[in-house]
């Protein structure tokens, strides 16, 4: 065996750069395609697509504020995508990110408000842990039901989303309501000291963005770990996993816990970086977008960073487009829907395109 052979890349490298590149090109093409579809709808609704898209571009990248806003939006999307990339590789279809994010927020805010007398850093760390814990526990409800009672997680997690929404509604009106808040449904503000440091002055871009990037990097380590391999095997074939002596329920719990924790952290980041208190509607729609970002990035860290950024700019820019090119608000959803479906079909579509 020559040294050249020995040092060749390990079996199925986690970042297959060639594949990644292809992925990006195809994804980009599908996005363009969906913008074309959106353009047609714009024409139908009597708007000028070019103007609209110009304001979309400006809205996402035009100024420092815009650009940082895009990164702000990308932060939770990336964290959720990372979480999804783990659970999906285990064929554990956790679509409960919304609920787990909410529970992450609830736990971390509770710690911020009710644990006192700690120095700032330990306190912030504790809030972080609480957020992860909240997400993990909520996710583990579905995990346990799956591991020991074979309850389909697609359904349990989506039901748990609704339950979490009402739980939050209850808390911000009852037990956790701000006494000085004239009965408006929100909790007290967290101590200023716990607000996450800004990365760029006078913008909302904050430390949670770094946390998201770190998480994306750490997932690489996860896939190189024996835990990751275990997850992969159980995902590929429950039967084989059983035959090679893996503990399937425990692996499912591990996956549910880890992915829940990551999503819980996303909730922590939203509160401690942006809202500074518990309010409603903090997670609406993030679950779905996170899943899309994950798949769009091919469940692969680098890909997910790129796609998180891409989708964030689509959302932030889209909102700006609604404001400044007064485009009907639902159009952005339509474009998003198209992006998702086209990105999913990209392999097929572009295989065809290139082969013909």
């Amino acid at each position: 065996m020559t040294t050249a052979e020995q040092t060749q890349s390990p079996p199925q490298p986690l970042i297959n750069w060639r594949g990644l590149w292809q992925n990006i090109v195809q994804a980009a093409l599908s996005v363009v395609l969906s913008l074309v579809v959106g353009g047609i709808l714009l024409l139908l609704s009597g708007r000028n697509p070019l103007e609209a898209y110009e304001s979309l571009y400006y809205g996402a990248f035009g100024t420092t504020d815009r650009f940082t806003e895009t990164l702000v939006k990308a932060t939770p999307l990336l964290l959720i995508a990372v979480s999804v990339s783990i659970s999906f590789r285990c064929q554990y279809w956790n679509i409960g990110a919304e609920g787990q994010m909410i529970l992450g927020s609830i736990f971390s805010v509770w710690v911020a408000l009710n644990i006192t007398g700690l120095p700032t850093l330990p306190h912030l760390a504790l809030c972080f842990v609480a957020g992860a814990l909240g997400g993990a526990l909520w996710s583990l409800i579905a995990g346990v039901l799956k591991a020991y009672l074979q309850a389909n997680e697609v359904i349990t997690t989506s039901m748990l989303n609704y339950i979490a929404v009402y739980l939050l509604a209850y808390l911000v009106r009852g037990p956790m309501i701000d006494p000085g808040g004239f009965n408006f449904p929100q909790s007290r503000l967290i101590p200023d000291a716990l607000e996450l440091p800004r990365l760029v002055e006078r913008t909302r871009l904050n430390a949670s963005f770094i946390v998201a990037l770190v998480a994306a990097a750490l997932v690489l380590v996860f896939w190189r770990s024996t835990w990751g391999r275990r997850t992969e095997i159980v995902g590929a074939s429950r039967r084989v996993a059983a035959h090679v002596g893996l503990n399937i329920p425990r692996t499912v719990l591990l996956v549910a816990g880890v992915s829940g924790a990551l999503t819980g952290i996303a909730g922590w980041g939203e509160i401690f970086g942006l809202h500074f208190r518990l309010i409603e509607e903090i997670a609406r729609g993030y679950g779905t977008l996170g899943i899309v970002v994950a798949l769009l990035g091919g469940l692969n860290p680098v890909g997910m960073v790129i796609s998180a950024f891409l989708f964030a700019s689509l959302v932030v820019g889209g909102n700006a487009m609604e404001r400044n090119a007064n485009v009907p608000f639902a159009l952005v959803d339509v474009i998003q829907g198209c992006v998702i479906l086209l990105v999913l079909s990209r392999a097929y579509l572009f295989k065809r395109a290139s082969s013909s």
Partner: protein, 530 residues
């Protein structure tokens, strides 16, 4: 007259030419044997004829007419039927439902009437099948008959059988032979793929041998013989093989006499008892009792063979011992330790190996690369994992060793296991299981679907392990194999042991009777009586 003619068929897969300008002519009323090593291209060629794969080059003529076969639907219309080695039946459906599936449009149907008609056709071809039972309750042999019937029911004139006997017992093979000859008499054309030369010589009228995707030999069966065929398949003269391999090759290919040429060293009971099963009760997937009060011992340095018609509890027995399946009652002791409460993980930890009979389902992850497959059981031990992190270098190195050491025909560790031919997939599993020098080996049909070369190789490996002092439990529905390798033979019937005898004094007839449900004890008393 020629019913089907394949001309210059070439089929390429990424990295392999599975079929290389293959010419094949099939005549009505003949049983045509198709031979070749694993990966020679037999299955692929037939998949092309059945419309599952599209050829890259070449043409197909049916009754002299050039045809293009886009899908099985086209093949069926042209009167071509295929029974795959991995049956393609809907398990929860009844026999009849499986057979009428896709026939006569979409509308309402009368089940009773359908079952009657299926029964008729079955009788017509002397196939013993109950149209009403669920397929999942049938033995492998019976399921195969359902597949055959399903083709005939669709009016197939050309019937392709991919390794039909790989999973059958002598009795079942006998029965099948009769059926096939009967069909040939009725003017049908049958393609018979097999690795067992003995059978091929017995059943077929004409043989074609593939090697590396090319046709290397064709002849009327009566004009050829075992050695010729073996030579053509392996591509070397038998003489070039080592003596013991020769013996095994021939043995595999045939008669007991030669089988016992594979001599046995250490008698049973010498070494310590490595597998001790006591009054074991196990239920199958449907919750029905599958193993009913069975006991056995396997000693160090011996091979205990378990003979029996498929579906008599072999799989459940094996899975209970290897701790993949829960135990209802009774006890399993591995190397002196009570394993009844173990999980599969503990079984593996105690340096015990398991070769499942269903490699696609239990043994391998087809779209994982060879490296991952090779380390499925050891990835979390050093040197493959350090402080919880995988060492890919070590994994690659290890995998290369296995590939070369066990002659797995593969370009490298990063090839998906699914791209290997069945035979090579089996070698990979074997390599993985034996690489840790196990003390206990449970092997369920270890040579299923292997060509004689590969099978001989597997046998040789098992023998080596035996010499090394491992205790081996060998399950096979192939009596030749059992007789060839075992020191002692336990016959299983209906989840119970019919008795154990030394293979030296085991005659096929006796075994056949026991496999049919007569206890050894009763047999001996009968002999005494007479």
């Amino acid at each position: 007259m020629i019913t089907v003619e394949m001309r210059g068929i070439t089929k390429r897969f990424p990295g392999v030419v599975a079929n290389d300008a293959v010419d094949l002519a099939l005549r009505s009323g003949e049983v045509h044997g198709l031979l070749g090593e694993n990966g020679a291209g037999k299955t692929t060629l037939m998949n092309v004829l059945f419309g599952l794969y599209q050829p890259d080059e070449g043409e197909i003529l049916v009754k002299g007419e050039p045809v293009t076969i886009h899908s099985p639907a086209d093949a069926i219309d042209l009167g071509i039927g295929m029974v795959h080695q991995h049956f393609k039946l809907v398990q929860p459906f009844t026999v009849t439902e499986n057979i009428i599936l896709g026939l006569d449009g979409w509308g309402f149907f009368d089940m009773a009437e359908a079952e009657r008609r299926v029964g008729e056709v079955a009788a017509q071809y002397g196939l013993d099948i109950d149209p009403g039972v669920r397929v999942q309750e049938l033995s492998v042999g019976a399921q195969q008959r359902v597949e055959i019937l399903s083709s005939l029911y669709r009016g197939a004139d050309v019937l392709i059988l991919d390794e039909p006997t790989a999973v059958l017992t002598p009795q079942e093979t006998e029965a099948l032979t009769v059926v096939l000859r009967g069909m040939a008499e009725k003017g049908k054309t049958i393609v018979f793929i097999s690795h067992k030369l003995e059978e091929v010589l017995k059943v077929t009228d004409r043989v074609t041998v593939l090697r590396g995707g090319r046709v290397v030999f064709g002849a009327m069966t009566r004009d050829t013989d075992k050695n010729t065929l073996a030579r053509e398949m392996i591509g070397r003269d038998l003489a070039s093989l080592r003596a013991d391999q020769q013996a095994q090759v021939l043995a595999l290919a045939g008669s007991e006499a030669e089988a016992h040429a594979g001599e046995h060293g250490t008698p049973a009971g010498v070494g310590e008892c490595l597998i001790d099963v006591r009054d074991l009760h196990v239920i199958d997937d449907r919750g029905l009792p599958a193993v009913r009060g069975l006991s056995l011992e396997v000693y160090a340095g011996e091979i205990l063979g378990i003979a029996g018609v498929d579906g008599n509890g072999q799989r459940e027995l094996v899975e209970a011992i290897t701790r993949v399946r829960p135990i209802e009652s009774g006890q399993v002791v591995i190397a002196g330790e009570d394993a009844t409460g173990w999980r599969a993980r503990d079984y593996i930890k105690h340096n015990a190996a398991y070769i499942s009979d269903d490699r696609h389902r239990d043994g391998l992850i087809l779209d994982f690369d060879l490296g991952r497959n090779a380390t499925l059981k050891v990835f979390d031990r050093s040197p493959f994992s350090r402080v919880g992190l995988l060492d890919f270098r070590a994994i690659v190195r290890f995998t290369r060793e296995l590939i070369t050491g066990f002659d797995v025909r593969a370009p490298g560790p990063s090839l998906p296991a699914g791209k290997l031919s069945g035979g090579n997939q089996q070698k990979l599993i074997l390599a993985r299981e034996l690489s840790q020098n196990p003390r206990v080996i449970v092997a369920n049909k270890p040579t299923r679907g292997l060509d004689i070369g590969a099978a001989a190789y597997v046998h040789q490996k098992l023998m080596e392990e035996r010499e090394r002092g491992a205790g081996i439990l060998l399950i096979s529905s192939d009596l030749d194999e059992i007789l060839l390798l075992s020191d002692r033979i336990l016959v299983i019937f209906n989840g119970q042991s019919m008795g154990v005898l030394n293979s030296a004094d085991a005659a096929t007839q006796t075994l056949g009777l026991m496999m049919a449900g007569t206890r050894l004890a009763d047999l001996t008393t009968q002999e005494a009586a007479s």
